[in-house]
Every structure is written in structure tokens, then in C-alpha cells.
Symmetry: C2
């Protein structure tokens, strides 16, 4: 079974939460950070505790590689081990790498993240260079049953700088940049469709642009959405639900609100450990899962 | 001294060649690959030989991280050591990472590549998400004297898919996407200028679009250019020279044509080693340097 179909089924079974393990060492309980040989190993141990506590209530995980690259080789070793641990639980993991390069370089990136030390189930991709920065990944993905989410409409404050520039171009009927990217991804999906009607590559659509959401969901009915912007960036369950269809078709990412949930539960003056943090994360993930379920 | 000024001076002294160490194991002499403990270590030894043979005739190096990520942790260790070796020679290195993410994530990427195991002098960045994927790097770059090249007009066949879409947008006077990105980078340069008149962040402009070159060079006179597309993608010294100004203002990247130059010099039926490959690379780098000097 290809990964986009596995993701669909995982969401049916475990809900829409995509738990982001964007784990900085400063998010860890003090005593855990102190007792580890280095920050990277502390982060890995923390991640494992959280994965143990949440894999049955999250549709998938997303790991933001920047947090690990920051710690150098030791950090990327923790990244690799985090991915392995998620996959050992039978859960799916999106490598949030936002790579975007062409031709032979793209193929090498694809091999890096669909195989070997950094093997993930999905990656995120950036389309600025053109479709020859996407197509080599598609070829590799088909071979290995993998998937990807291409940046289309992101949730950050700067998302209008380029994505929403109005077009007047004879080469396209689309009205702005992100719709040109979206249309190309939808065309790819038509020729590479999974058994639940979603293309093997999906797109990133933030839940911060409420007025666009219904139109986007309708326009790209054959695309699965990776949905950032929940919580910290202002989107809520109602906004996220606008980007789902028939109760599926999207995963909603949350990271800091879940992995640092322990901070608001920690008793004053008392040290807490990974187990405490993991239980708080589980409660936060269940709460988010149920909030989304409550509005679809 | 900040890195963009160092790069200007390096080009004055050593010419315009940016040697791309996009080193795949299959580019290595057979006997060197066989005798190494693994491909990553073979690549590192090969890189060191090439750096020894070329650092006095190349303006800078560029290392494409995808080739190293493909080899996992061992590959990234070789990547880190390659960067260290280049910098130990007093040469400048551009980390070709094309990262593009926002806010806290961007800051973590910047710390990853301006410090620690992966410390480089410059990075390449992708702007799709918006200017909040560039600005955090600028803040970190200023602190450390580092630099970056932002993708504007790339040299790949798909470069027109999005970069050249015609605009009709009241928010900008620019006529296509890449010019909006270029203008924003030029505005940043106005406020962050080095002693030779170039902003601390430059842009990537391929030498494959000959009819646009003079206009681009004139439009962005305060921006230093990283120029891909030489050789394999069809640009030559004449095309590259159109993107320089007053004999400086750009570095011209070539990778495979230099690092595999040994393949056309290898005597039939004879094994060759890294030393042979390095000498061939030196000749190829000097030839390219002189071709560019000959037309400016």
C-alpha cells in the first residue's frame, strides 16, 4: 500500500493530529536535559517518551529537521533515530525538510530522505525553482511507495509576499502564484492517484486564511493537505475543518502546544521528568484530536 | 571584514571560478573508492586533494549538501569535514543548501549553517514562503559576518514555471515573480552594504538566460551574483560575463566539468588516483578562470 493511502487509514483510525516533533533542548524538563550526555541525546529520549505516549492518538508525526541540524552531526543522529522510532511503532512520519533543488540534486535528496539513515514516509518540498524540482521526487516516490507535500499556501505572516501576487499571464488561467503551483500538483495527482482518491503527493495549506479555505478545498479535491498554523499561528479547529473533506483529506500539525504542554501542568517548585511531559502531551493531543472531531 | 567583502577581494586575487564540490562517489577514481572505508570517506579524501590543488585559482567553493545527505550521517560528516578543510585553507565556502523556512525554524537553520559542525561562509536560500523566511538569516548573518545568496533567477529548464509568471498586482510595480524577489533583496542590500558596494546578501542568477542578463545586472547593481548554469546547462564565459560588473560582482559555478575533468585525461587501461584527478581539476579550473578573464 502506498503511503498516502496509509495516511488516510491512519487518520480514520487515530484522528487528524500531526504531532510536530520540533524539539528544541529548551523545551525539555531540566532534569532530563542535565542527565543526558548531550542535548541531542536528551532530545531523542524526550521524543521517544512522547512517541510512546501518543502514537495511538495521532494520525502521523512531522519532524522539523532544522531543530536537529542546529545541533550538528549529533543532532542529525538524533533526527535519524527519532524517525526510526516513529516508524518502529507503525506510525507514519513526515520529514519537514522543505528541500527544493533540481535534476540530479533533487534525485539525491530524494534518495537521502526516502532511504537510508533519514528514511521518512513523506517529505515537504519547496517549488520556487520549477516543476523540475518536484518531478525527480515523484519518480523516486513511486518506486518506494513514498509521498510528499509541496508548499502551496503557507500559514506564516509573509505568505502573501510572493504566493498571492496577482497574475496576468497568457501561459496560465490561474489568478495568483500559489494557484499555479496548486493546479500543477492537482494535475500530477490526476495521473498518480491512491485508492481513496488522493494523489500520492499532497500540498501544504495553512489554516490561517479562513476566507480562502472553502475555495481551496473545493479546487483541490484530489489533494491531501498538510495543514500548519493551528494554535500558535492563529488557526483553530473550525478553521482546520474547512480544509478537510468527508472527515479526511488532511492532517493538522501542532508542535509546541503539545510538546511543551507539561509547562502549564508542572507543579510550582517541583522537578518533572519525560514521563510527566509525555502524559501532558498525550492529554493535549487527545484534546486537539477531539476538538477537530467535534467540528467535522 | 564581512564575508561579501572577503569574496570580492578573493575574486580580485584568484578569479571568478566557484568550484562546486558536488561530489558523488561515482565521480571518483576506482582505486580510491575501493581503498576507502566507505564512500563518504572516499569523497572526503577526493575533495581534500582537489582543494589542495585548486585553492589558489578559485574565488570560492560551493558544496551541494544533497550529495552528502544522500550518504546519511557518514555523508554529512564528510560534508562537515570538507567545509572545515576549505576554510582551513583561508578559502570561502558557500553551503548550497537552498533552505527556506520561517521564524524560529529559519533561525535554527541559520545557527546550523553559520556555526558549529556545518559552519559555512555563505548559504543559498529559497524564498517561496516569503520574506520572513529570509529575514531571520539576515539577523544571524549580521551577528557573525556571514552571507547568503537567495534564489531569484535560476538556470534550470523549469525556471519559467513560476519565476517568470507575468504579474498584474497593485502591491508591486514589478512585472514578474523573480523581479519581486530581486527588488526585495536589492532593498535589503541598500540597508546592509559592504565596502565594495554589494549588499551582505546576494542572489542566484543563472547564465542561461542571455537576453535578460544585461537588464538583470543593471537592475541589481548592489547585489553580488552567484551564477550557475556554466557548462553543462549551456552558459559560457561570454554569458557569465554579462552578469559581472567592473570585473567583479559575481562568481561563476562549475562542478562536474572540473571535478570529473580527469575522465577525459585518463590513459586507456590505466588506473589513476586522486592526485591525477586533482591535477586535471586544477587545469580545468585555470582554463575556466582564464576564459572568463578573457571576456571581461
Amino acid at each position: 500500500m502506498i503511503n498516502i493511502d496509509k495516511l488516510y487509514e491512519s487518520i480514520q483510525a487515530k484522528g487528524h493530529v500531526c504531532l510536530g516533533l520540533d524539539t528544541a533542548a529548551e523545551y525539555l524538563p531540566d532534569i532530563e536535559r542535565k542527565k543526558a550526555v548531550n542535548d541531542a541525546q536528551a532530545v531523542l529520549a524526550f521524543n521517544r517518551s512522547l512517541i510512546d505516549a501518543t502514537y495511538d492518538v495521532t494520525g502521523c508525526y512531522k519532524v522539523q529537521i532544522a531543530y536537529y541540524e542546529e545541533m550538528g552531526i549529533a543532532g542529525l543522529t538524533a533526527y535519524a533515530e527519532t524517525l526510526k522510532y516513529i516508524r518502529s511503532k507503525g506510525s507514519l512520519v513526515i520529514a519537514d525538510i522543505k528541500r527544493g533543488d533540481i535534476a540530479d540534486t533533487a534525485t539525491r535528496y530524494a534518495r537521502a530522505h526516502f532511504n537510508g539513515d533519514f528514511e521518512a514516509d513523506f517529505v515537504t518540498l519547496s517549488p520556487y525553482m520549477g516543476m523540475d524540482s518536484i518531478e525527480p521526487w515523484l519518480k523516486e516516490a513511486k518506486q518506494h511507495g513514498k509521498g510528499a507535500f509541496v508548499l502551496v499556501r503557507t500559514s506564516n505572516p509573509g505568505n502573501n509576499d510572493f504566493q498571492k501576487l496577482s497574475l496576468n499571464d497568457p501561459k496560465t488561467e490561474q489568478k495568483c502564484l500559489y494557484k499555479v503551483v496548486g493546479k500543477k500538483m492537482s494535475d500530477i495527482a490526476d495521473n498518480n492517484i491512491g485508492k481513496y482518491g488522493y494523489g500520492i503527493f499532497g500540498i501544504v495549506v495553512g489554516c490561517t486564511e479562513k476566507e480562502e479555505a472553502a475555495e481551496i478545498r473545493k479546487e483541490y479535491s484530489n489533494l491531501f493537505f498538510l495543514i500548519p498554523g493551528y494554535g500558535a499561528q492563529g488557526g483553530g479547529a473550525a478553521e482546520a475543518a474547512l480544509l478537510l473533506q468527508k472527515g479526511n483529506g488532511g492532517v493538522v500539525n501542532a508542535s509546541r502546544s503539545i510538546i511543551t504542554a507539561w509547562k502549564s501542568e508542572k507543579p510550582e517548585g517541583k522537578e518533572i521528568d519525560n514521563q510527566f511531559a509525555a502524559e501532558a502531551a498525550r492529554r493535549a493531543a487527545i484534546k486537539m484530536r477531539d476538538e477537530i472531531k467535534g467540528v467535522i
